[in-house]
Amino acid sequence: MTPLLEVRDLTITFPVRDGVALAADGVSLAIDGGETLAVVGESGCGKTVTALSLLRLLPESARVAPQSRIVFEGADILTLDPEALRRVRGARMAMVFQEPMTSLNPVLSIGTQLAETVEAHEPVRRRAALDRAAEMLAMVGLPDPRRVLRQYPHELSGGMRQRAMIAMALICGPRLLIADEPTTALDVTVQAQILELLASLRQRLGMSLLLITHNLGVAAGIADRVAVMYGGRIVETASCKDLFAAPAHPYTAGLLQAAPRLDGPARPTPAIPGAVPPATAWPAGCRFHPRCSRAWDRCGREEPPLLDAGPARASRCWLVTDPSGGRG
């Protein structure tokens, strides 16, 4: 089966004052129809840059290396002409951002913004577009959708705004929804609502979902597969079940241990020592090795490729081929 989206060797750099920031480096991933992939990582790992590049929303200063491919429904997004790109954006592939207040237009009513989205892609009259908008608002669980159509973003609460954003993203029936930290700005009780909503909409509409998050708990609750990023690299991919049952990469294991949780005993969680290095100066060898408790001399010399670590899983770590950790 051909995946709905296939990213191959995506490499993105930014010129910065003190050199070149390597934000995403050889990122490859695929999403099947109806699948939910969570890309998990901490700030600076390259997850948001990867997500933005899928719709060519990167800032102008970004450079995408020539070998990069983003194949969506058979076409390479990176080579589409502006008109073809416009037909994909919002219609076949749509995006929801972390802070809905900055992605909604504050001076247009919710109804106008939703209707304009439909009109940009389909030959419909305003009346029909508004009917569709009201249906969509009802589907995302907003009470009294006709009233919401007339409201402005500032009149809605944070949770309601995020629902309106999701309605706008889904109104043209995209096959892939990219959600970049969709619940990070929300309170925990509202976060739970939005995650349930995304999961149920994905199933109802049969679309695929790419969820970008820093929160392993959020990924565990919704994803079929997980890709963990560190230092612009994918360091581990696995099914959600396998990854949480037994993380293969020491970074994934460290993140899981560092996450405070409510199940299990109440004890201090161990930190990962050090901090993420700047994207202008990734360490030689494995990018995680200076912070890794299992690193040995090879890790500092030679960067491991993504190694097969079992059925449908891979880990960018020499432990896969040398489980003794350099002592064997």
């Binding site: 925990v188 949480f244 405070p260 199940d263 109440a266 930190a271």
Partner: protein, 337 residues
């Protein structure tokens, strides 16, 4: 119990809300009769969602906002009556660490000066002695003193928060108000800063008022937990009691909403409906009743505000139907491993 280091009684803070030229201004009751006490060396966590009033409580304690009613007593001193020099001397005893050190540090001031400044303002050290004490503070929070020359933007989030903590410690406080001290940090760094806070508490015998929305973080840090909703305390008790058997349905929902990094954890999730109501027009009766999942919810909840009452020793809840064996199931957590 011995005399608490900090006691808050009946704290009220209202903010006027302008509703346009033709309507009378309304009052937003951010804090509505909050009473709390923190024992010396203890960590009290104040938990709630945005708009619950937890940060306003902290601002009133620090005299960054003037409360409309209530008392704040710190080690026998009536804090709200302090003026001038008295207030300034008092500020040495209670310091605050903010969520986003990027917002609370002057971007044009080297972080060494930011930590040194309170020493000089309070007349605690000058010249070479201040330099030395600044370097010692950097070492104490796990930063190389070489970073004193850096500007805030040159540091990582975790390093900036360490600077924020060093600055608060400079004047030798007894109590730290920690307002979401780790919520802006990455998970791997969060654990480092939490470990530092625990270490400092032990070494210096500090008392913490730990304000947070993340219950999983609170569980690691707190001796006691107070839960706020719409300006009121709805539950307060010892941490281990609260996490094992929460009494208030709002606390159940908060606990249940925390994502667990385990796809196999089949939890009976309580997903609350709706958003927290506006504190300008709180619902009548129990302020939580429109969202409450409790099976016993009835007319009384819609009309009669529940008082905070002791359901078990030193564990209070503001719910008409709170019992030690709840009639609605609390969130079932996966068994401890």
């Amino acid at each position: 119990m011995s005399e608490p280091l900090l006691a808050i009684e009946g704290l009220v803070k209202r903010y006027p809300v302008d509703r346009g030229p033709l309507r009378k201004p309304a009052a937003l009751v951010a804090v509505d009769g909050v009473s709390l006490s923190v024992g010396r060396g203890e960590t009290l966590a104040l938990v709630g969602e945005s708009g619950s009033g937890k940060t306003t409580v902290a601002r009133c304690l620090m005299r960054l906002a003037e409360p409309d009613a209530g008392r704040v007593v710190f080690d026998g001193v009536d804090v709200l009556a302090l003026r001038g020099t008295g207030l300034r001397t008092f500020r040495r005893r209670m310091q605050m660490v903010f969520q986003d050190p990027y917002g609370s540090l002057n971007p044009r001031m080297r972080v060494g000066s930011a930590v040194r400044e309170p020493l000089e303002i309070h007349g605690l050290a000058h010249g070479a002695e201040a330099d030395e004490r600044t370097a010692a503070l950097f070492r104490e929070v796990g930063l190389d003193p070489g970073y004193r020359k850096s500007f805030p933007h040159e540091l990582s989030g975790g390093q900036r928060q360490r600077v924020g903590i060093a600055r608060a410690l400079a004047v030798g406080p007894e109590l730290l108000v920690l307002d979401e001290p780790v919520s802006a940090l990455d998970v791997s760094v969060q654990a480092q800063v939490l470990a530092l806070l625990r270490e400092l508490q032990e070494r210096r015998g500090l008392t913490y008022l730990f304000i947070a929305h993340d219950l999983a973080v609170v569980r690691q840090m707190a001796n006691r937990v107070a839960v706020m909703y719409l300006g009121k305390i709805v539950e307060e008790g010892p941490a281990e009691r609260l996490f094992a058997g929460a009494l208030h349905p709002y606390t159940w929902s908060l606990l249940s909403a925390v994502p667990v990094p385990d796809p196999a954890a089949a939890r009976s999730r309580i997903v609350l409906e709706g958003d927290p109501p506006s504190p300008v027009a709180p619902p009548p009766g129990c302020p939580f009743h429109p969202r409450c999942p409790h099976l016993a919810k009835d007319e009384r909840c819609r009309t009669e505000p529940p008082a905070l009452r002791a359901v078990e020793p030193s564990h209070v809840a503001a719910c008409h139907y709170a019992t030690t064996s709840p009639s609605s199931p609390p969130p079932t957590l996966p068994p401890a491993r």
